[in-house]
Symmetry: D2
Subunit: 333 residues, 4 copies
């Protein structure tokens, strides 16, 4: 039917709130970052039951929210990049057996550079300095790196490589095929996939970063990646960094119509209309809304007029966050 | 209040249809193009009364509609470009006292190249070959051109120049100031302003071209041009070519909620609910919808996921249409 | 030492002309295209001896030359695209055992989109409509295709997919690794690699297309692809389409200095100076020129100021040529 | 004849060094910046005699040189941006009668964004936040500004606006016409024109910034701006910021051939060849070199392969330098 999709585990979780708030197999933890306005939420889907309720695979979904992230203060990006670096480093440690020997990371910037709200991934890759080609790898086989950079006395970071796989309409291939091919050839220890997401709530656009170790799943992202990118099909851990940049047009209309129906039901004449609305509630209300929604809305999205500037700042913050995570991991070695 | 704006005179006209269809001071003419699926509508606002009713200035608004314009058949663009060339040439003849001496035309590609649905104007300018700098203009003063190209034996077109003025957030200036400055220096006989428009109806997105001799008015276009570009403030006739590429998010929600209310009113239980709805109709219904609509919606827009490809094709068709018009005018000399 | 490299087999062949013109293991064939100004040259390197003399692998190198290719006449591109389509189809037939069952082709657009003379490859891929994702492939296993497009009654082309692998400085990976990964996953029958080349002669810039079935070799192209892309390392035939867009700065200086030395030697005072120059000829002349050439010249290139426009036209002509080849192959089935 | 042009006053000055070093009407001052590797040179052309000798108009030409400017250390950009800010503020003070009332500055980013070495100007404008449209200007007439930003309690900077006028091949208009039109409409107190320059010496590419209060002159810049942008034709002071990004191909060949001739002359066999070369020196040497140089070289340029990255860093440093200058001027009020 009409699409009312969200890629944010946080929003999926919120949709259960009316039902008492407890969902079996799903744990929730919330906190505020010290000294900043960032609000963190961790949704952990612990078992199959939780996965089924949430419509998302088991794993950790971390959300950084700040209304200020979309504002133009440079200061905030500093805080966001710092916190992203911390959380990303911790998620990498959790997912990569040993980071001691040095990590090789492939950053996949998903999305279509030509479509403003879908250009987040490519721009993050643009903002990173790749160094995999600068390293000689003679010691790779016995577990140690011999970097040319090391000899030159420069700080040594984990080995970074990156790709913009493009989108299916441009390449004729599934994005997952391209990334899998590159993973098989270049053998990174980890893939970080950056993608633009769809949210339900316009307030979350460009002000929320979701970080998860479950990878990219079919139907997530602004574009449609039909096959996912997960540890199962890529063979290495996949950490996904996503930012909601669009809301489905259907979601917005649906939300408003629901609000209207709720308002009518709760009106002072509620005793009379409530009856009618309750009748509708089960089947015909759904049917009614479905008819009202134009079929085109599934392929339409809603995005703010200033998304171009927001994406610029967000992609800079995420690139900086990845750099920070990589520095942290290096310092720990 | 919330914005439910359309830049299409056709849609403004349609909103009166419930009221009997006749609007004082507004004439309507419809026809089909021979041998193609193009539907033409001409809305003429004849006097001040019509202008007030329509919320648009007096003048001719020509709309070319074809559901096929957004499809990938190359053939159609041929038909669209041909028809656009014909209509544009006729509008130029009507607005420029004498085209006999050769015309100098400035094409202004309005909008933000970085924002997909707002990139139509800049892409049309990219698609045209400017030739003003190739012409020597010794004979200008006594009303004739002496083209260097003419001497070289090539076909002579009207003199074309073009500019991408950018948008206010990039330049810190009103777009109209930039265009006016360029007009004053380069003294074209005519400005053709190309812009992306906002529509009310998603079916019109990327499948409609509006052509008008009234110029660009405040509030029109996807971006916000606070001062208009008209014969009055530029000093030369201004023909605007626009294509709707977005629908305001508020318009979509508003439309759906209206449909819901209509449906409820007309329902078989209408006698009971109709009463309630009719009460709401005047003031409180409006208030209700207003509350439901999030204030953010004013700055949000709805656009199809494949707008990038559509804009590519449309801008090619419009550039070709301008070339055809220019050829027609030249042949007539 | 200093680089005086050419990626054109034709230019390599020309450098032997002073020596009598015959090179063992290298065959030369020249002709003119009927009804156009295109000059074709086929250099065939037949055996190891020829490969060693030429410094290029065995195979066929076809060169289409036309001074008009860089001019703005649209008509020419038609001729160039048509001839390229014919020659490419014939090269594909020669290299792909059977094209009867339908071919799957991966087009790799090599180079850096941000660097004007290196942007040819990415722009050719942009200009093609990929269709691999539109096909269902149930019949693949038993040797026949069942296209969804076929059912829809549209003309059926070979299956096209495409990739912009980027350059090493952007991705941290060898371009060949990325292409090989994509080949392994998507299993095309053939790779067409499009790349910008370096020439020795400025007259060939943007007016020559080289077509070869030997693939891409280390050191070829404007960027430096350290590992080649050949049938050996990709596992499928690789046809390379290249256009010279730069001349190494060293090559230009070297050429001019050589001309100066030749002029001095041949001067009327030649009896005296010739002696000196001949002394220099073997070792010290070389040494002298080497010292004059600044070491930076190796990393510098020479390119015309209007390369941006030329690349636009050339990439359109090559994309059209690929489409024509694909149509020809389809018609033969 | 062949072009051996430099846009750097510093290089023009150097070409006189063999002649004893003193040029009438031209003053030279050199110093090093404290705590950085930046070398400053100020060439002042004091009178008409100096202007004629140098082939450049009277005024101050300040050159910042640092071999490190093209290297990837972020630290340097800090030093370069700081020094540029200091020097630019001082040049603005010198040229604008009173900066006390608040300055309105128009930044013109000259050049072609599509051609890598010519994209400096547009990228600098992209890197600046314009604010002219955020200011209300009711108090302008009596010499004081009333900023909306001021009311909002934010730091107040001089009023910035910016434009990418494009190049003549894209617009069909002289760049100077467009800038003049915008100046007439928007009435800034000062124009800062940013442009990519041609140098003679490859070592200066992307490692030198030239700052001058003489504006832009015909023939300067990578593209060809046929009419200049000066105080005379724009009506307000014009400060030009330029970075050499190309060397004319002719300059490189000419330089090397000159070096060869010098070497031959100075060789141990000099007594014999010197004679011949000396004969050539006056007329026929020149004629000889002229014949050797291909006429195409005039339209060719030499640029490093990594110019894309260098331009990125340089444009960021210049945008930051402009911001710093603007801050300094504001603090002084």
């Amino acid at each position: 039917m009409f699409e009312n999709r969200t890629d944010l585990a946080l929003e999926e979780r919120e949709s259960f709130e009316g039902d008492g708030g407890e969902i079996g197999g799903v744990a929730l933890r919330e906190w505020r970052c010290h000294g900043s306005s960032i609000r963190m939420t961790e949704v952990s889907i612990l078992n199959e039951k939780g996965a089924e309720s949430m419509g998302k695979p088991m794993g950790t979904y971390l959300t950084m929210e700040d209304p200020g992230l979309s504002e133009t203060e440079d200061a905030y990006c500093e805080a966001a990049a710092g916190e992203l670096g911390r959380q990303l480093a911790s998620l990498i440690r959790k997912n990569c057996a040993s980071t001691m020997a040095g990590l090789s990371i492939l950053v996949a910037g998903l999305g279509n550079r030509q479509v403003t709200p879908d250009s987040l991934g490519p721009r993050v890759v643009d903002g990173l300095s790749m160094n995999r080609h600068l390293r000689t790898e003679p010691g790779r086989r016995n577990g140690t790196y011999l970097y040319t950079a090391e000899k030159a006395g420069r700080t040594v970071h984990p080995v970074l490589s990156g790709i913009h796989p493009g989108v299916m309409a441009q390449t004729g291939m599934e994005t997952a095929e391209i990334v899998r091919g590159v993973v098989r050839e270049s053998r990174p220890d980890l893939v970080i996939a950056v993608d633009a997401l769809a949210a339900r709530n316009v307030h979350r656009l460009a002000s929320t970063i979701q970080l998860t170790d479950t990878g990219i799943h079919p139907g997530s992202g602004v574009g449609n990646h039909r096959r996912g990118m997960t540890r199962e099909n890529l063979g290495v851990p996949v950490i996904a960094i996503g930012v909601p940049t669009v809301v489905g047009a259907a979601a917005i209309v649906h939300g408003t119509v629901n609000a209207l129906v709720r308002t009518l039901t709760a009106s002072k004449e509620g005793s009379r209309y409530g009856e009618y609305i309750r009748e509708l509630d089960s089947d015909s209300q759904y049917e009614l809304i479905r008819e009202l929604l134009e079929p085109e809305f599934g392929a339409m999205f809603v995005t703010p007029q200033d998304m171009d500037e927001r994406i610029c700042k967000l992609s800079a913050a995420i690139a900086e966050g990845i750099r920070r995570a990589v520095e942290r991991l290096e310092e720990e070695r």
